[in-house]
C-alpha cells in the first residue's frame, strides 16, 4: 500500500514542478513588463532599473525561476504590486471562502446526484431513467454563471427570499444561491456515473445471491452502495477540485469574496504576483486533491492497487 502511495507521489511531483513552471511562465508571457503597472508614465531609466532590481526582474529568467521556486517552497508567494501586502496574506482568506462555497456545493451535488442516479439505476423504468438522464445532460451543458443570474432573478428579485450578492458574515442565506448554482454541473455528472455503476452492479451475480439468501431490498442496497462508493468518490473528488478553480465565474456573479473574485481583480488591475500566486495555489490544490482521491480510492477499494 505504501509502495502504491510512493508510486503515485513520484508521478505527481514532476507534474507539480511543471505546474510551477507554467505559473512562472504566465507572468513572463504577459505583454509588457511585469512592473509596468506600478511605474509612472515618465519614469526615468534609472528608476526603472532600480525597481526591476528590487523585484529581481533584472536577473536572467532561469535564475529568476529558481529564486522564485525557492521562495514559494518556503510559503513566500511574493508581494502584491497594488497593495504591497504579501500575496499569501491576500490569498488565505479568499481560499477559505472558496473552500466554504465548494464544500457546500459538493455536499448538495453529492446528495442530489446520488439520489437521482440511484433512482434512475434502480427503477430502470424508461420514464424515470430518461428524466434523470435529461436532468444530467441539462446540468452538464448549462452555463452556470447564467444559471446564477436566473436564480437571482427568481429568488432575489421576484420572490425576495434570498440575498443576491455578497457574503455578509458567515450566514447561510448568502451561501444558498451560489452553492446551488455551483452544484448543478457536478450533480449532473455524479448522477450520470451513479446511474451507470448502479445499473452495472445490479446486473452482477452477487446481487442475485444476496436476494437468494434472503436479504431484503434495503440490505441489498447497502451492498450495492459499497460497490458504487469508489466510483462516486473519484468523481466527487475530481469535481470538488474542478470547482475550486472553476468557481471564478459564479463568484463574480454573486460577488463572493473568494479566489475567483481575487483573480478577477488581479487581472483587471494587472497585479501579476496575485494572479500568479492564486493560480499556483489553486492548481496545486487541484493536483494534490487528485492524489488524495487516488489514495483514498485505494483504501476503499483494494483492487485499485493491483491495477
Amino acid at each position: 500500500m505504501f509502495r502504491y502511495f510512493l508510486r503515485r507521489l513520484a508521478y505527481t511531483l514532476p507534474i507539480a514542478l511543471g505546474v510551477t513552471l507554467v505559473c512562472f511562465a504566465l507572468v513572463h508571457l504577459a505583454p509588457g513588463d511585469p512592473i509596468s503597472a506600478v511605474l509612472p508614465e515618465n519614469a526615468s531609466a534609472s528608476v526603472v532599473q532600480e525597481i526591476k532590481a528590487a523585484y529581481g526582474f533584472d536577473k536572467p529568467l532561469p535564475l529568476q525561476y529558481l529564486i522564485w521556486l525557492g521562495h514559494i517552497t518556503q510559503g513566500d508567494l511574493g508581494t502584491s504590486i497594488k497593495t504591497g501586502r504579501p500575496v499569501a496574506a491576500e490569498i488565505g482568506p479568499a481560499i477559505a471562502n472558496s473552500m466554504l462555497l465548494a464544500a457546500a456545493s459538493i455536499f448538495l451535488a453529492f446528495v442530489g446526484g446520488c439520489a437521482l442516479g440511484a433512482v434512475a439505476g434502480y427503477t430502470r423504468r424508461h420514464g424515470v431513467d430518461r428524466a434523470v438522464t435529461a436532468v444530467a445532460v441539462t446540468g452538464v451543458s448549462l452555463p452556470h454563471y447564467w444559471l446564477g443570474m436566473v436564480l437571482i432573478v427568481f429568488f432575489s428579485v421576484e420572490l425576495r427570499w434570498l440575498p443576491a450578492t455578497g457574503m455578509g458574515g458567515p450566514d447561510l442565506a448568502h451561501l444558498i444561491l451560489p452553492a446551488v448554482t455551483l452544484a448543478v454541473i457536478p450533480m449532473g455528472i455524479i448522477a450520470r456515473s451513479v446511474r451507470a455503476s448502479v445499473s452495472e452492479i445490479r446486473r452482477q451475480e452477487f446481487v442475485q445471491t444476496l436476494y437468494a439468501k434472503g436479504l431484503r431490498g434495503p440490505q441489498v442496497l447497502l451492498h450495492v452502495a459499497k460497490n458504487v462508493a469508489p466510483t462516486v468518490m473519484a468523481v466527487m473528488g475530481l469535481q470538488f477540485a474542478q470547482m475550486l478553480g472553476g468557481s471564478i465565474l459564479v463568484e463574480t456573479v454573486f460577488s463572493w469574496p473568494g479566489t475567483g473574485f481575487l483573480l478577477n481583480t488581479a487581472i483587471f488591475t494587472r497585479d501579476l504576483p496575485i494572479l500568479q500566486g492564486t493560480i499556483l495555489v489553486l492548481a496545486m490544490l487541484f493536483v494534490f486533491t487528485n492524489l488524495l482521491v487516488d489514495v483514498l480510492q485505494m483504501l476503499v477499494d483494494p483492487r485499485v492497487k493491483r491495477a
Binding site: S141, L142, P143, Y145, V153
Partner: protein, 302 residues
C-alpha cells in the same frame, strides 16, 4: 498497396454467401442509426438553422445591432417593433442576439478545431512513435492537464489580456491536452493490432501506416470527442467574455451581452437573461448531438 482497414470491412461476396444480404459497411450503419434518432437529428437541425441565420444576419432586414437610443433603453419585448425588446443602451435585442451568434459560435468553434489539429497530431505522434517521444509529449500534456479547465483559460487570457484572439489562444491550449490524450490512447491501441503488423510485414513505411490505418481508426473517436468539447468551449468562451476577457464592447457576443446586461438585472430581468438562453440551447444541442454521434458510431473510448 492500400490495406483494408478495420471499421470499413466491406464483406466480399463469395458465391456461397450470395443470397445473404451483403454488409453495406460501417458508414451505412452509422447513417441508418442516426436516421432513427430524432433527438440527434433535431439538434443538428437547430444548429444548422442557427449557423445559417448567423451567416445570413446582415441580409435578414434586422435593426442595426449597434444603433443606440437613449430614450428606448431596456424596453420589454414587443416594444415598437423590437420583437425581443432593447438592451441597456437601447439597441435591438433580436438583432444583437443574432449578430452575437456569429462571434459566439466562432469563438466556441475555432479553438476546438485548432486543438483537434494540434492535439490530435501530438497524440498520434506520441502514440505511434512510443518510447521516449511518447514520454516527453505526454508528460508535457499532463502538466497542462493538471489545471482545472476554467482556471487555465482564465489564467492564460488574464495574462495575455482581453481580446478575441487571446481567448481563442487560451481555449485552444485548454483543449489540446484532453484531445491529445484520446488520440494517444487510440493510436497506441491501433499500433498493437494485427493489421498494422501485417502492413509492416509487407513493407509499408511508417507514414503509410499512419495514413492508411492509424488515421482511419483514430479520426472517429477524436471527432466525436471534439464535438462534445464544442459545447464546453461555447460555455467557457462566453464565460471569458462575461468576465470581460473576450471581445470588447460594443461588439455583440452572448457572454459579453450577459456581462453588460447584468447591471440591469433588477430593472429588466427577462431581457438580462436572454443571451444565456442562447448559450444554453446551443451548448445543449452540441452536447446531445455529440452523444447521438457517439452512440451511432459505437465509440467507447473518447
Amino acid at each position: 498497396m492500400r490495406m483494408q482497414t478495420a471499421p470499413s470491412t466491406a464483406a466480399a461476396i463469395t458465391p456461397a454467401a450470395a443470397f445473404r444480404r451483403p454488409s453495406r459497411g460501417y458508414w451505412h450503419t452509422v447513417r441508418r442509426r442516426l436516421s432513427r434518432d430524432p433527438l440527434t437529428l433535431g439538434c443538428a437541425a437547430v444548429l444548422l438553422l442557427l449557423v445559417g441565420i448567423a451567416i445570413a444576419a446582415p441580409w435578414l432586414g434586422l435593426d442595426d445591432p449597434f444603433k443606440m437610443s437613449m430614450i428606448r433603453r431596456l424596453k420589454p419585448p414587443g416594444y415598437q417593433g423590437h420583437l425581443l425588446g432593447t438592451d441597456e443602451l437601447g439597441r435591438d435585442m433580436l438583432a444583437r442576439l443574432i449578430f452575437g451568434a456569429r462571434l459566439s459560435l466562432f469563438t466556441g468553434f475555432v479553438p476546438v478545431v485548432l486543438a483537434t489539429l494540434i492535439g490530435g497530431g501530438l497524440g498520434i505522434i506520441a502514440g505511434f512513435t512510443g518510447g521516449r517521444w511518447n514520454m516527453v509529449i505526454m508528460r508535457l500534456i499532463d502538466v497542462f492537464y493538471a489545471f482545472p479547465s476554467v482556471l487555465l483559460a482564465v489564467a492564460i487570457s488574464g495574462a495575455l489580456g482581453a481580446g478575441l484572439l487571446n481567448s481563442i489562444v487560451s481555449l485552444t491550449l485548454v483543449f489540446i491536452p484532453p484531445i491529445a490524450r484520446i488520440a494517444e490512447s487510440v493510436t497506441t491501441q491501433v499500433r498493437e493490432q494485427d493489421f498494422v503488423e501485417a502492413a509492416r510485414a509487407t513493407g509499408a513505411s511508417g507514414w503509410r501506416i499512419v495514413q492508411g490505418h492509424v488515421l482511419a481508426n483514430v479520426t472517429g473517436p477524436i471527432l466525436v470527442y471534439a464535438s462534445s468539447l464544442i459545447s464546453v468551449s461555447i460555455v467557457i468562451a462566453s464565460g471569458l467574455s462575461f468576465l470581460g476577457l473576450g471581445v470588447s464592447p460594443p461588439n455583440a457576443e452572448w457572454g459579453l451581452m450577459l456581462n453588460t446586461l447584468r447591471q440591469a438585472i433588477y430593472v429588466a430581468p427577462m431581457t438580462a437573461i436572454l443571451p444565456g438562453i442562447m448559450i444554453f440551447v446551443t451548448s445543449m444541442c452540441f452536447n446531445l448531438m455529440s452523444d447521438g454521434l457517439r452512440g451511432a458510431m459505437d465509440i467507447k473510448n473518447g
